[in-house]
Symmetry: C2
Subunit: 204 residues, 2 copies
DNA sequence: GTCTATAACGAGATAGAC
DNA sequence: GTCTATCTCGTTATAGAC
């Protein structure tokens, strides 16, 4: 028992839902609602029930915390994309499930973490900027592959390079979240998403 | 001469390009690049060449400054839209000119002021929130009217309510600016905008 | 691993002279 | 209308006890 506890304590990033994880959870929530600059160690510590100093033990600087946030978010997001990959759904259904990932975030009154951080881009420390672009690059690749497969199969329809459509798709999703939240009305998002899916889904 | 100077001094908001205007100019630039929360009185004062206290004379609180920023931006934006209205261009051409308004902002390495503020929405003082929604509401109305006119004339093509397409259009423009700036590459924006215009423009 | 205490700085805002 | 000076508060970050 005490041996086990000691083993946990000796790790810098425990994988059971302890302090570090709860810090990330609350920091993520705040970053998605108020932005990274609108997030303070004091806010996080208050909810987690610890002290500002304890936070600095786990994430020595705010830039470290921010980078960890993006990396965890990215991993979780692409785990969800892997599940879509693993299914036998056709391209339009996969696209809808992709859109639903964004819609689920918005339903929690949050923005996409990386969309929010993109707005704050010029004020972010360098390691965070790099991690952000990794997220968007991987999204672009995933979507581009999906669009090309759908076009080959005749289930998706669009003109021009698939990559351009992938970028437009990401843009409309990020932008629609932004506007929907300002209106406190997820229907703004749903309407924009439905429009995009309709445009890209082959008739019949 | 001294009478003239006195007349100017007696106004709270002079309409010649003096201090208040220069404050707004620089505050706007900072808000569009770093965000409203990333903008400080000290930053603005340094560029304008005055003091923080002088700023407080013109805009007693930061919320006042913010509201003034949005209102001036909105007026300027709709002045540009009025010019498009006044032209005899067809709907597709008008839409392209609308998109160009956004592209021009991005070329200055800025985001749409209101798109940026939408990301910071939850942290904004109430008067600013109201002013923001006025901007988006008026945009939605203007675009909806344009889309409906184009569909009637047979020059634009889209399914469903024009308002939904208007919202999707705004979303993709705001989102594409966000992503393009993170990549430091306006081509990201141009590709997304071109995709949207292509989808909505009637063939032939 | 977490605490108290505090350093060091920058923010928005105010007072009062000129 | 603008200045200097200052106040108060919140921020990130650190030191050192336990």
């Amino acid at each position: 028992m005490s041996a086990l506890r000691h083993e946990r304590a000796s790790r810098t990033q425990p994988d059971d839902p302890t302090t570090a994880t709860r810090i990330l959870d609350e920091a993520e929530r705040l970053a998605q609602t108020r932005g990274f600059n609108g997030l303070s160690y004091a806010d996080v510590a208050a909810v987690v029930g610890t002290s500002k100093a304890a936070l600095h033990y786990h994430f020595s600087t705010k830039a470290d915390l921010g980078r960890a946030l993006i990396e965890r978010y990215t991993e979780r997001f692409f785990t969800a994309l892997d599940e879509i990959e693993a299914s036998d759904a056709a391209a339009p259904e996969r696209l809808q499930r992709y859109v639903r990932l964004y819609a689920d975030v918005l339903k929690q009154d949050r923005l996409c973490l990386c969309g929010m951080l993109a707005a704050e881009y010029t004020t972010l420390p360098d390691p965070m900027r790099g991690a952000l672009r990794v997220f968007f690059d991987r999204n672009e690749v995933w979507l581009t592959d999906l669009l090309e497969a759908g076009r080959r199969a005749g289930t998706l329809r669009f003109d021009g390079p698939a990559r351009d459509s992938a970028r437009a798709l990401m843009a409309v999703l990020e932008g629609a979240m932004l506007l929907a939240r300002a209106y406190g009305d997820t229907k703004h998002f749903d309407a924009a998403a439905a429009y995009l899916i309709r445009e890209v889904t082959a008739a019949g």
